[in-house]
């Protein structure tokens, strides 16, 4: 029976295995015929949503890999606003509001709040957490 999964990612890409493990689990969930209700990026996990990362060419580009997954499957990928602001992951609206020189939220991701994490926990069969 197909299940609804949500994933909450607390770890930044490359700093620990949590982000890439989450990515691989997300792919496995979809390959197994299940649905991803939401991806929620919290704390350092917001760094998965930067458009500015330039990882080494011979390594997986984790932010882009998330983007491909999210866009290919129409997944709701939410980045926690408080975590994002304090770590400098801004969409255009915030960059303007706070008069910062650039916006860097990777396309495919949206800024949201903890209510969406709670909602994901309430509406998914499983909430999987990935932390460093």
């Amino acid at each position: 029976m197909a299940m609804k999964f949500s994933l909450v990612i607390y770890g930044a890409p490359y700093s620990s295995e949590s982000a890439s493990t989450a990515l691989n689990v997300a792919r496995a969930v979809l390959a197994g015929g299940h649905e991803i209700y939401r991806l929620f990026f919290y704390q350092d996990g917001v760094h998965n949503a930067t458009s500015l990362a330039v990882p080494p060419q011979d390594e997986v580009n984790i932010p882009r890999a998330w983007q491909e997954l999210v866009q290919a499957h129409g997944i709701d990928a939410v980045v926690c606003v408080a975590s994002a602001l304090s770590r400098g992951i801004l969409d255009q609206g915030e960059a303007e509001r706070y008069e910062r020189p650039a916006a860097n939220l990777l396309e495919g991701f949206s800024i949201g709040g903890l209510g969406q994490l709670v909602d994901a926990a309430l509406n998914s069969d499983r909430l999987l957490s990935f932390a460093p």
Partner: protein
């Protein structure tokens, strides 16, 4: 397969205060969960018990003292606050050292809480 409205959610705090963003993150999420009418249980284990110490002052290092918010938890209908009894003993702390009353639990009871909760968030 959505569950019934009110679920027991356990927030297990294991990190000490002033060392990073997790203590505040836990507080923000549990308050949101309580606002969504979930039955929040807050547990402090390991070095997390330091978050409950009375008489904190982060001013010298320019950090906020989060322990001031614990007494306000009642307003948000946090169902219960528990603290790992072994962690207190290991650190030579007693219930009198804490800023709020928290029920000391032995490890087996803590495991039961984790098994029983519908969601467990570890910070």
């Amino acid at each position: 397969m959505t569950d019934s409205p009110r679920q027991e959610w356990l927030f297990l705090c294991r990190r000490p205060p002033y060392g990073g963003s997790y203590p505040k993150a836990a507080l923000d999420l549990l308050l949101t969960a309580a606002a969504f009418d979930q039955a929040v249980i807050l547990a402090f284990a390991g070095d997390g018990v330091y978050q409950l110490l009375a008489g904190q002052d982060g001013g010298g290092i320019g950090l906020k003292d989060l322990s001031r918010t614990w007494p306000a938890l009642e307003l948000y209908e946090v169902r219960e606050v528990v603290v790992e009894a072994q962690a207190l003993r290991d650190r030579n702390l007693g219930e009198g050292d804490l800023v709020i009353s928290a029920r000391p639990v032995e490890n087996e009871a803590l495991r039961e809480l984790q098994a029983r909760a519908r969601q467990v968030f570890v910070f």
